[in-house]
């Protein structure tokens, strides 16, 4: 098989990657590890937590997905995919060793410079944990660059918790505080019950100027989480969130993700709360 790597010449060029491993996270949500066929490309491909890539299945189409792995562990890219439509359905039908095509990375990613030396508060709801998992492991892999780390994750029911085994193992570490909650404990559940904002009552005292929060979750979640963060007096530009828009190119050309004069694919998908006040329509 020939490997095309024209990405310098043609930024739309999808490059071949192999599915190394895959397993179901929960119903209709699957975890994928992929690696570029070109080994050198695989090892040199780098990105920021919070960036995304475009994944193609020839004949089916292309769609954007967040990178869920961390650049501190190069070689393999990890994705968490929800079965939604054409591309995702076709991806679910792939087996280990099958080839898919990717291009990227795209978007801005989280503002790491602003986060270094600070306490980090990661707040995830449902699927939103997929992009946040990247920053979570990035902070854990570069632990000395950050102060305290809090990871708050809420889902509707215990069956809907993604990366369950992994995240429960994290609870055993002493350099991270993990707080998990479900709206409703339909099955056995040892953690909190209630909406994710309830977890804020469990946080120790926080110095708002020394804290950076990153949020991702369903649209309804943002409002309530932001209220809590504002109560803690976090500056509006120290609240980062990753947003979703329809995207076709990822490169600021097709116009699909435009709002006001920004392109979500280039200027986002990570925005600060201040940005959302400044640009209407963002959330």
């Amino acid at each position: 098989m020939t490997v095309c790597n024209h990405s310098d010449e043609n930024p739309f060029q999808p490059e071949a990657a192999r599915i190394v491993r895959q397993y179901d996270l929960i119903e209709d949500h699957r975890f994928f590890q992929v690696r570029f066929l070109d080994m050198e490309r695989a090892m040199t491909f780098t990105y920021n937590p919070g960036q995304f890539l475009m994944l193609s299945i020839p004949g089916v189409g292309e769609a954007p997905f967040s990178i869920s792995s961390t650049p501190s562990r190069p070689g393999i890219l990890e994705l968490g995919i929800r079965r939604m439509g054409k591309v995702t359905e076709a991806l679910f039908n792939k087996s280990d060793n099958d080839v898919v095509y990717i291009r990227g990375p795209y978007g801005n990613g989280f503002n790491l410079d602003q986060m270094r030396g600070k306490d980090i508060l990661i707040v995830a709801g449902g699927l939103g944990v997929i992009p946040l998992r990247s920053i979570l492991y990035y902070v854990l892999d570069n632990r000395d660059q950050f102060e305290r780390l809090f990871f708050l994750y809420g889902v509707r029911t215990p069956e809907e918790m993604l990366f369950r085994t992994e995240f429960f193992q994290l609870k055993e570490r002493h350099d991270i505080e993990c707080l998990y909650t479900v709206d409703k404990a339909t099955t056995e559940w040892s953690e909190d019950v209630g909406v994710v904002t309830k977890l804020f009552t469990k946080l120790p005292e926080i110095d708002p100027h020394q804290t950076n929060a990153v949020i991702c979750g369903p649209p309804v979640m943002y409002k309530y989480v932001i209220q809590e963060l504002l109560k803690l007096k976090l500056p509006k530009n120290q609240i980062q969130m990753t947003l979703e828009r329809r995207m076709k190119c990822g490169l600021g050309k097709c116009g699909h993700c435009a709002l006001d004069h920004i392109y979500t694919c280039m200027d986002g998908p990570v925005f600060t709360y201040w940005d959302t006040l400044h640009f209407r329509e963002l959330i």
Binding site: P11, F12, P58, K248, L251, G252, L259, D260, H261, E281
Partner: protein, 343 residues
């Protein structure tokens, strides 16, 4: 800039001589329809006068083309439609529209399809006189200073020819004896008179400069609902607008036992209802008023923040095309006066 003079009797021969530099394209009338296309015969070309409904963007950002072919070995880019071209008869507003599109497609990362078309196309501009719905004077796009290789101003008795690039210079060198270096004071006066007469011919105009502020201040105005109620979401305004760049992409499979096919790219419109739809059926812009706002924000405001000038180049195509009279002039007027147009 180098300015030369040419007698009208040389014009056709000179234009025909340009095929040495590439296939000649221009506004041609075929079967009663005026469109930018290959020039087969000089007398099909319509210099100044009626304007093609579909703007020149189609030669650089085609309505539909194949980005890639794919098979079991992956995706191979298709640049087969790219050829050396000389595009003649291009009016100032269209030249401006290409400069606007450049800012989207030629900004890093460069779109190779558009860039290759641009690099392989010479632009031969041609002066025009404003039609009923032209308002390029309001948008500051009625004259050009860059973006062409040669520009012909038709002053009746003779042409003034601006040489805008080294390629343009080479074109002139090929037929040096057609050109006169000696542009006299009288010639310049004729040109100034022509400019003044042309300035007076504009019938449509509006105050473009205050639009970014007005747009910002009228974000919640009921005027948007008034227009939204009328809009048919047909997307024609986007198709005819020379600075609308939106597109979408689909894979098309060939009828074959193997996975083989092509990845097509074609024009899309932010006026279509599913344009901003994301997974889960959450539509950020389900309301027609919001889609109209996005369109007009792009034309009258957004672009100004980004590049210092709005995206509208005053060609008047939206004025001529929208079946329910939603266009830059009616929208700008309604927002400025805060009154819905009289029926």
């Amino acid at each position: 800039m180098r300015i030369l003079k040419m007698q009208p009797k040389f014009f056709q021969e000179f234009i025909e001589s340009l095929n040495k530099f590439g296939t000649i394209y221009g506004p041609v009338k075929k079967d009663g329809v005026l469109k930018y296309d290959r020039v087969e015969a000089f007398d099909e070309v319509v210099f100044d006068g009626e304007r093609p409904m579909i703007p020149i963007k189609k030669l650089f950002h085609p309505k539909k083309f194949d980005m890639f072919h794919f098979d079991k070995d992956g995706f191979t880019p298709d640049y087969s439609s790219i050829e050396k071209r000389v595009i003649i008869g291009v009016p100032p507003c269209e030249i401006h529209s290409l400069l606007r599109l450049d800012e989207i497609f030629m900004e890093r990362p460069v779109d190779p399809y558009y860039a290759k078309q641009r690099e392989n196309s010479a632009i031969i501009g041609y002066s025009c006189l404003p039609g009923e719905s032209c308002f390029c004077k309001s948008t500051g796009t009625d004259i050009v200073e860059e973006g062409f290789d040669l520009f012909f101003v038709n002053l009746g008795k003779f042409y003034l020819v601006w040489v805008g690039s080294s390629l343009g210079h080479d074109m002139v060198l090929e037929r040096e004896d057609y050109f006169d270096e000696n542009v006299t004071h009288n010639d310049i006066e004729e040109y100034i008179d022509w400019r003044q007469a042309r300035d007076k011919m504009f019938k449509a105009s509006f105050d473009f400069k205050s639009m970014p502020d007005i747009m910002e201040l009228s974000y919640n105005s009921p005027i948007w609902d008034y227009f939204a109620d009328k809009c048919l979401s047909c997307g024609q305004c986007s198709m005819v607008c020379p600075t609308c760049n939106c597109y979408t992409v689909t894979d098309v499979l060939e009828v074959s036992p193997d996975t083989k096919g092509r990845r097509e790219r074609y024009w899309d419109s932010c006026m279509f209802v599913d344009y901003s739809l994301v997974a889960g059926g959450h539509n950020f812009r389900g309301a027609r008023a919001d889609r109209l706002k996005l369109w007009y924000t792009h034309k009258l405001k957004a672009y100004a923040n980004e590049y210092g000038k709005p995206a509208c180049i005053g060609c008047g195509r939206c004025v001529r095309t929208c079946p329910v009279d939603i266009n830059v002039l009616t929208v700008a007027q309604a927002l400025t006066e805060m009154e819905v147009p009289a029926q």
